[in-house]
């Protein structure tokens, strides 16, 4: 299932569509303020891009860009960003996740500080969701193969 598919058409299309998919996912994350979208949706679309890469180019090609270990680290980083912004608000003298206090740090009006805080939180959520979806995908699609099989594929 995770081997390289020797299908020229699917491989080429995946190659061509993948960067656009990722840019679209980033657009969805960044423009959650003005149109539907946000961290959850963008993260899932990012993960779908990696799914397409695994399906077309095989697991070994994908591991160069996103391996299980990297996914674990990124998911932790995502949650850390979310919690870290909350703790930053605590340090600056507000409540937990009260982005209005960030205005002292960023030198903008409180409303825009809250907008920026929302953006940071969305990025954290997107990273976490992307990494977790990739992890679940890797877990399910490699569960049948033991570590020995992996080595023989390499």
């Amino acid at each position: 299932m995770t081997r390289d598919s020797h299908d020229v058409i699917v491989k080429t299309l995946a190659r061509l569509l993948m960067p656009f998919m990722v840019v679209f996912a980033l657009y969805v994350v960044m423009h959650g303020h003005h149109s539907p979208g946000g961290g959850f949706q963008g993260g899932v679309i990012l993960a779908a891009g990696f799914v397409l890469l695994v399906i077309s180019h095989g697991l070994e090609q994908t591991r160069k860009r996103m391996s299980e270990k990297v996914a674990e680290i990124i998911s932790s980083i995502g949650v850390l960003i979310y919690g870290g912004i909350g703790v930053l608000c605590l340090i600056l003298g507000g409540n937990y996740l009260d982005y209005g206090t960030l205005s002292k740090l960023l030198r903008v009006t409180p409303a825009e500080a809250r907008s920026l805080g929302i953006l940071g939180v969305e990025i954290g959520v997107a990273l976490a969701v992307m990494a977790v979806m990739c992890t679940v995908f890797f877990a399910i699609f490699t569960a049948g193969e033991s570590s020995q099989d992996d080595r023989s594929v390499k």
Binding site: P36, F40, Q41, V44, I45, A48, I140, F141, A143, G144
Partner: protein
């Protein structure tokens, strides 16, 4: 809300749900479940919940069906009921 769409789509969702649990071939059931989530997305769009529809669209088209197919490929395809 658009009443005519609502009625038709609820009917479709019902058909898909019943088909998904009665088909014995698990892979077919998963495919029908994909159609089910399409209609769910349409239903939420029709109820003006754009963000929810967006989430459902990306989740079902990108990950959900793929995970199901992966699980079926790692286990057995036929089910006894």
């Amino acid at each position: 809300m658009i009443l005519s769409f609502d009625l038709i789509l609820l009917l479709f969702v019902f058909i898909c749900a019943i088909a998904a649990i009665t088909i014995r071939d698990l892979l077919s059931a998963v495919v029908v479940l994909g159609a089910y989530s399409f209609f769910m997305c349409l239903l939420w769009t029709e109820m003006a919940a754009v963000d929810v529809a967006f989430t459902e669209a990306s989740v079902s088209a990108g990950i959900g069906t793929v995970l199901m197919i992966g699980a079926v490929s790692k286990t057995k395809r036929r089910s006894n009921d």
